[in-house]
């Protein structure tokens, strides 16, 4: 008798285990819905940034559905995003992408946040040949394996100074040499590497290419070197604090260059406040900022998006938010262009994307990454303006010498 009970107990436990494993069912949705799958960092280390994507994705899909959805071959489809929490973990995320494809049968995939999670996810998408549009990973690694099913809306770090350099070579007289300095993190290193490659391709001589320690806050040695080499422009990939110190000390040492450009800093109010008048004419780059003005297909313009976003979520959107809107815009456009939900045809339509969004124009390189759309900023009269390509103001080049200001 007792053995029977024990036996039964064992059977019940195994039964429950088996039952739970097999019963992960998801109810079927009504017809005329396009399902997008997204495993995002709702919890875990990256949940703060993950939320930015979720907020934007929800706002964008709500806007599309309100305006009548997506038209596919004359029929209107509503969009629904199936969200899962990947706990900011790569293995969890890849598993969930599997679930989205196999169990939820989503039509298309949206990316997670951060490059390390995006790559395993993109490999699952590739196995099933379902296109994934991601706006949360910028690493060149994502696109280095020529996976045809992954498209990214964040420009690569290597292209960050691309627009700055092409603006620079357009000036007369044509600059001949530049100096590149960079901070000690991986992102800065990729920016610098890419800038060097780009500059050499454009026929500029890189007279100085050096890693700096931003924490030391002392730029005297490097600036003395720069002064003796006298390049036309100095590009720095670093952070706001370092940028402030660099500009301050360049003035003190009277290092006169035709151009100083920084990756981070010029677009921030703090930078201008700390440097005051010395911030004038400093160049910067950004992939997106809420002050920009682009026309869009989901929202009328950047301004319209920023206003609606702030009204709903009560914080200022940043480039993560805008990049998420671009993801949805890319998919909407591609589905409409393809006129079908066939993954292969939509993939081909995504590859041919050429649209204006509130995030800026979106076109993809053959490897799937967005064509570098970073813009050049310059501080003029205490304000930041976009000066290239097609800015509200013209770039002021060369910068006036410190003594003559």
């Amino acid at each position: 008798m007792k053995t029977g009970i024990k036996w039964l107990k064992g059977l019940v436990v195994s039964g429950i285990v088996l039952g739970l494993v097999v019963s992960f069912n998801i109810p079927a949705y009504a017809k005329n819905v396009i399902k997008l799958g997204c495993a995002m960092s709702f919890t875990g280390k990256k949940s703060r940034t993950g939320k930015l994507y979720v907020d934007s994705l929800k706002l964008a899909t709500a806007a599309i559905n309100k305006a009548g959805g997506i038209k596919v071959a004359g029929k209107a489809y509503a969009i629904k995003i199936v969200f899962y929490d990947d706990k900011s973990d790569a293995a969890e995320s890849a598993k969930l992408i599997e679930k989205l494809i196999v169990e939820d049968k989503v039509n298309f995939l949206l990316g997670p946040y951060s490059s390390g999670v995006t790559i395993p996810d993109s490999l699952v998408a590739q196995r099933y040949k379902i296109p994934m549009v991601e706006g949360g990973g910028a690493s060149g690694k994502i696109f280095s394996r020529k996976n045809p099913y992954i498209f990214g809306t964040l420009p690569s770090a290597g292209q960050y100074f691309g627009t700055t350099l092409s603006m620079l070579t357009g000036f007369k007289p044509k600059p001949k040499s530049i100096a590149i300095i960079f901070g000690d993190d991986k992102f800065d290193l990729s920016v610098a590497k890419g800038a060097k490659k780009n500059a050499e391709k454009l026929g500029l001589k890189v007279v100085l290419y050096e890693k700096i320690s931003e924490s030391s806050a002392d730029f005297n040695t490097i600036l003395t070197k720069v002064k003796s080499l006298a390049p036309d422009a100095l590009l720095m990939a670093g952070h706001t604090e370092g940028g402030i110190n660099l500009v301050q000390q360049a003035k003190e040492l009277n290092v006169n260059l035709k151009m100083i450009s920084l990756t981070v800093g010029p677009s921030e109010a703090d930078f201008r406040k700390s440097l005051g008048k010395n911030a004038e004419y400093i160049f910067g780059v950004a992939s997106w900022s809420p002050q920009m003005n682009f026309k869009g297909i989901i929202f009328k313009s950047t301004k319209d998006f920023v206003a609606k976003f702030k009204a709903k979520y009560n914080y200022d959107p940043d480039y993560h938010n805008a990049s998420a809107v671009a993801e949805i815009a890319v998919l909407k456009n591609a589905i409409e262009k393809a006129g079908t939900l066939n993954p292969e045809k939509v993939r081909n339509a995504i590859a041919k994307t050429n649209i204006e969004t509130i995030y800026g124009p979106v076109r993809f390189n053959p490897n799937g990454q967005i064509k570098g759309s970073s813009v050049v900023l310059q501080i003029q009269g205490g304000q930041v303006y976009q000066v290239y390509p097609k800015g509200t103001k013209k770039p002021i080049y060369p910068m006036p010498a410190w003594k003559t200001r």
Partner: protein
Amino acid sequence: MAQKGTVTKGLFLGILIIIGIALPFFSGNFIIRFVTNALMFAVLASAWNIIGGYTGYASFGNVVFLGIGAYVSAVLMEKGGVPFWVGFPASGVGAAIFAILIGLPVLRLKGHYFAIATLGVAEAMKALVDNLEITEGNSGIYLPVMDLSVKSQYIFFYFMMLGVLVLTLVVTYIFLKKKLGYGLIAIREDEEAANSLGVNTTLFKITSFALSGFFSGLAGSLYAYQQGFIKPESVFDVGVTVKMIVMAVFGGIGSILGPLLGALSIEIISEILTNYFLVAHTLFFGAIVIFAIVFTPKGIMDIISGRKKFGISYLLQNIRDHRV
């Protein structure tokens, strides 16, 4: 009585094995991947059980073996061009050698000091791999893609992981019946007494640590190959160590099948909660773990082994025994 217990255990094990073998042929790719993942944690928790459960050395850095296993395979296959069949055992051996080297100094420490030291070792390895050229630093490294259909790939990984798990459990079982097993338990109960009785404690502890490393390393190799891409922050994540310890405790430490049951049930509970609660799942999950530890500190194994009758009195007895 004892024989009846063995029959129950045998039946239970039999059912588990049948489910284990039949599962991939009756379920979709997601379930296979999900179970493969759960099996990986079962391997990790069982491997942790060797050093943490039987030997009584609570390692908080066991994830380092997963990481080393993953990176040994990744570097050998991607940079060295060797096939998986070479990379896979190399991962286990690599992790075991690392365990021996690191065990020599670290296993001299006891209690909290050992826990902190192992935690430090794992973090240090992460920092190292983050900055090495050959591992492609913190941007991560790809592995070659397997040339099989999706379904066959998943069945392959499933059975490989199942194989590693069975190997882990069988090897643990055999060792427990030998001098090594008794020695380890003696070390757990009283290391100095064991030493004075002639147990070579250093050798036994290092063997136990190396075994733990070996199986975790094999799991790491499979993990890396299935993921196709790894990064230091994901394979040296201290959260993974915490997870394997929670699983081992949940299932019942110091028993062979405990960590396996712990891993399966925790993965299933966590999956169901995540499915229904997008963000609040962590809260519910935490609550379940707390209740489990308070009411059933000896784990699931203690309940289903049938030594005591399960009921309210069992739960209350546990609280009394452990003075919560």
